[in-house]
């Protein structure tokens, strides 16, 4: 059972040394990684970029740009172009109620408008590079656990494939490709979140706070990533989460100040760039109050299209709190595992946000290979993947029947949206369950016995 493990250890000079290296020194692992993974990764990048370049040039690009599943009112390229045009005319880009990007974003595009396609392709590739360094340190603390759990612990060889798999999952995911070809700015937001994750994992509190602030500035919701980032940094500095320790408070205050400070800088910078506070209502007001009910893959549009006007405020609050609320119980439950918490939070954001697109889903799906050691504990993965697959195929079909053929109606489309989201929720909760169960087995042994000696099974109730 352990033969490959042993041979692996024997191949290095000293197994302990190797373990130490992988555990604490991510840099060595990177070198190790880059030598062995360079060829397949390069091939993958070439394939991914070719697909995108071909699609950009094909007639499909126009079609994809119009799909409501791929672009939302927040991140549609058409709207960015409109905003830029207004800016060039010397009018506030928010004047027409079409443009809802942040001011920094529009100035960014102001400079790179001619190379937009390249920017989107580069950002997609960058995200992969950023996601590469995640999860190097993981569960090699073999001696701490009962012996029969060794098979639960990931071998270095399995770990070796993770970056490649993450890259494949992100770059070749049809959702990412569609999002990139549609030039949805969602890709750039994903890049910011990836930068945040990278800097957090590298342990740089300042960079982490800055990128978190940037992500929040872009779309509010990443605010919930504050908790896992803080937990991770505390864990890295060996500061226990304890209300009575001054060191805990000191670091928390530091991080909060760094975060709020950079957020304030960005908001003020935006103000000085445009010389007005219009962007606050146009961007954040637009995200929070959901005035645009164009159908998308989220849960908001149908519900609020049907809503009586005087209940609207109440239900907006309920729906929006939904995104933020899960942070508290999840942070308490997963306070030892902030990286998994980041994954959960990103997934929850992409399910419950007001204008979700497939690009958001692609981001958390890229994390899935990092949890492939949980695969054996997943219960509904077959059902969930079939449902996700079928729904993705049915979206355009029902859209066609509703909008073009006129024979179906919005209920058909919403039914699929609902199913799609239920499948996503099942997927995430399944991973959550699997993670908790693995933790349970790690401490209690893999083969559980009842008191009378018969085999026991774990039941989630």
């Amino acid at each position: 059972k352990f033969s490959h493990l042993k041979s692996y250890f024997e191949s290095t000079d000293s197994p302990e040394h190797f373990l130490q290296n992988t555990k604490y020194n991510a840099g060595d692992a990177d070198v190790f990684l880059s030598t062995k993974m360079a060829a397949p990764l390069t091939l993958l990048f070439i394939v991914a970029i070719t697909i995108r370049a071909v699609l950009f040039r094909s007639s499909l690009a126009d079609l994809i740009t119009e799909r409501v599943e791929v672009v939302s009112p927040l991140n549609a390229w058409k709207r960015v172009v409109e905003g830029l045009a207004l800016l060039d005319l010397g009018v506030s880009p928010y004047a027409g109620d079409v443009f809802h990007e942040t001011p920094l974003m529009i100035y960014f595009f102001h400079f790179v408008i001619d190379y937009a396609e390249i920017v989107f392709m580069v950002s997609a590739v960058c995200i992969v590079f950023l996601l590469q360094f995640r999860k190097q340190k993981y569960a090699l603390e073999g001696d701490r656990y009962p012996l029969d759990c060794l098979e639960l612990i990931r071998t270095p060889r399995e770990m070796l494939y993770i970056p490649l798999k993450v890259a494949m999952f992100y770059l070749l995911n049809p959702f990412t490709i569609l999002s990139c070809v549609a030039k949805s700015t969602c890709g750039l937001n994903n890049a910011v979140i990836a930068l945040f994750i990278l800097s957090t994992i590298k342990g740089s509190a300042l960079m982490s706070a800055i990128f978190l602030a940037l992500a929040t500035y872009q779309s509010i919701y990443p605010l919930t990533l504050f908790a896992p980032a803080l937990l991770y940094l505390l864990q890295r500095l060996y500061i226990p989460v304890n209300w009575r320790r001054p060191s805990f408070w000191l670091f928390t205050t530091q991080y909060v100040f760094m975060y709020l400070g950079s957020l304030a800088v960005m908001v003020c910078l935006s103000f000085f760039l445009l010389n007005s506070w219009d962007f606050l209502t146009s961007v954040y007001g637009f995200i929070l109050s959901v005035p645009d009910l164009t159908p998308n893959i989220g849960l908001f549009w149908y519900f609020f299209a049907e809503m009586f006007e005087h209940f609207r405020l109440f239900f907006i609050c309920v729906f929006q709190i939904n995104v933020f609320f899960y942070t508290i119980p999840l942070s308490i439950k997963l306070k030892e595992h902030p990286v998994f918490l980041i994954f959960m939070q990103i997934a929850i954001i992409s399910i419950f946000k007001s204008y979700p697109t497939v690009g958001d889903i692609a981001l958390y799906m890229a994390f899935l290979p990092a949890w492939n050691h949980l695969y054996r504990f997943l219960r509904n993965i077959f059902l969930v993947s079939v449902v996700l697959l079928a729904c993705s195929a049915l979206f355009p079909v029902l859209w066609h029947l509703w909008i073009y053929a006129g024979s179906a109606n919005s209920n058909f489309y919403y039914a699929i949206t609902l199913l799609f989201n239920v499948a996503q929720i099942l997927l995430v909760s399944d991973y959550f369950y699997a993670y908790l169960r693995r933790e349970h087995h790690l401490t209690h042994g893999l083969y559980l016995k009842r008191k009378d000696g018969s085999e026991a099974t774990l039941v989630l109730k």
Binding site: H4, A390, A393, L394, A405, S407, T457
Partner: protein
Amino acid sequence: MGLLSDPNRRRALTNLLTRLNAPICVVCYLAGVMWFMGLAFEPFTLRTYMSENAMGSTMVEEHFPAGERALATGREFAAHKKKVGGMPVNWLVKTMESRGLEVFTQSFTRKLPFPDENKERYLVRGTNVYGILRAPRASRTEALVLTAPCSQGNANNQAVGLLLGLAQYFRSQVYWAKDIIFLVNEHDLIGMQAWLEGYHHTNTTGGDWSPLHGRGGSIQASLSLELSSDVITSLDLVLEGLNGQLPNLDLANLFHAFCQKIGVLCTIQGKLQRNDWESTSGYSHSAQTMMLMVLKQASGRPWGDHGLFLRYHIEAATIRGINSFRQYKTDTTTIGRLLEGMYRKLNNLLERLHQSYFFYLMPSLTRFVSIGYYMPAFGLLAVILLLRALDLWVQLGASAPGTEDGLAEREQSPSSPGVLSILTPVVISHMTGVALYCLPVMSQEMAVQHFPVSETEAVVLTAIAIYTAGLALPHNTHRLLQGEGTEHGWRVLKLVALLYLAVLLGCTALINFSLGFILALSLVPIAAFITPHTHKPLSAAIMVLLSPGCTLLYCVLIFQELQETPVSLQDGWMLFLSVISQGILDHSLYGSLVYPLLALLIYPCWLLLWNILFWK
């Protein structure tokens, strides 16, 4: 959620499903077929009723008097048509103008990808003439259309005559709240396509036509009239449009209601309504009517000039006059009154027809089967694919030693070679599909140079050749790559193929139920039970017999049988060839999706299954 989270109950359920998988599948298949056949049984169907309030409760009186004069105009039109040798544009313009319409013409040119031997045309030039009667009673934001084709030979002269007669009569009435457009289109659907694309400022199929200079409001409904004799015995209603789209059921109800009121015999699929549903012959009559509708809908082609309107969200139908040997004849005045009544009711519409059903099958003109009733028939077939996929998934999980529920020892080998061995057949099958889609039309010139065949034959025969060549090609590929396929390999490939087919058929059935159902009928059995371990020659024979191409041949033969014009196998084969060429033409002329669907998706999927059979 209890079922999904309790491992014991889950295990019990999966055990049940795996142990009884084959019997459940057989039962589902039989139940699906029975359900479908039951749809034609009258007690199981619903009676049609008018849902639209604006058309249901209001009374109209019909006064159209001028049937004889319309026939005279028709004869005049015929004489002018003969003299000019095509569409008598000048005469039509003059006549329409004299009836007080705003008249415009549109010319169009269309080069077919290859000659159409059925209608003997290749380079098509023509002109559409249309006149607009402006609504006196409302702001001209909405319009109704009445069309009659200017066909070759002596067909449909009476239709044009009646159209002009109605135009003159409608002009004298004051109650019109919608513009009424009278259109005479040349070269049937090609002219109709040109006119509709001109009207809506689109160009989806790359034709060449002049823009329209006059335009009414947004078109709410449209009727096409086909009338080739002075008196008729019955009127036939044609509903099936492009890609199997159907107009709102209220349009059929409206037609039926007026036929009842005026006392005209009306048919659907050329079959009269019968009242003896208890008898076997009564049931088989309505089953035949429904099967005809299913076959027509599955073909995805427009069965009348109305077919292209449906794409623009315009409810449309074709009314076809039939003159058979019955005693009881109806004259043109009566048909004129019927159309007048229908247009007056449509004129009352406050919004587009939307109240009634869009997804339905009709076993007779007074009975319909809605989507909720016919979808289970398809669902029972589709669930077989999912059950088999589940079974395979469990087998794949169990092939690794250990128990289930997470406590199994997982295979440690990385799965990348497995993925590659799946990817190769998938890619190669799809490449064959792309070849089947592109090559026939692209390589026709070369084929004509080297073989003694006409262009049309070249296209059809190339398609059949590629189709057959595909059978020989893919099953050798993974051996070249890997030496030997594994037991694990074909299971994964079959899982992929099953899910792919299930999603594909599901989507097809939503857009075009009939097509999805027919494909499911033939593909589900082979998809469910194909393995490399079955008796090879027998399984191969069954697979070929149930392949999409052969299914098409059966459909052609059954269609002829149901239309009471049975053909010999020889003629059936010729008809099959012409159906293929028509399918390709429909795709390139009007954007029908059946040919690309079959070539690019269904055929590759079938090739995957073929690949599994020869997995070594």
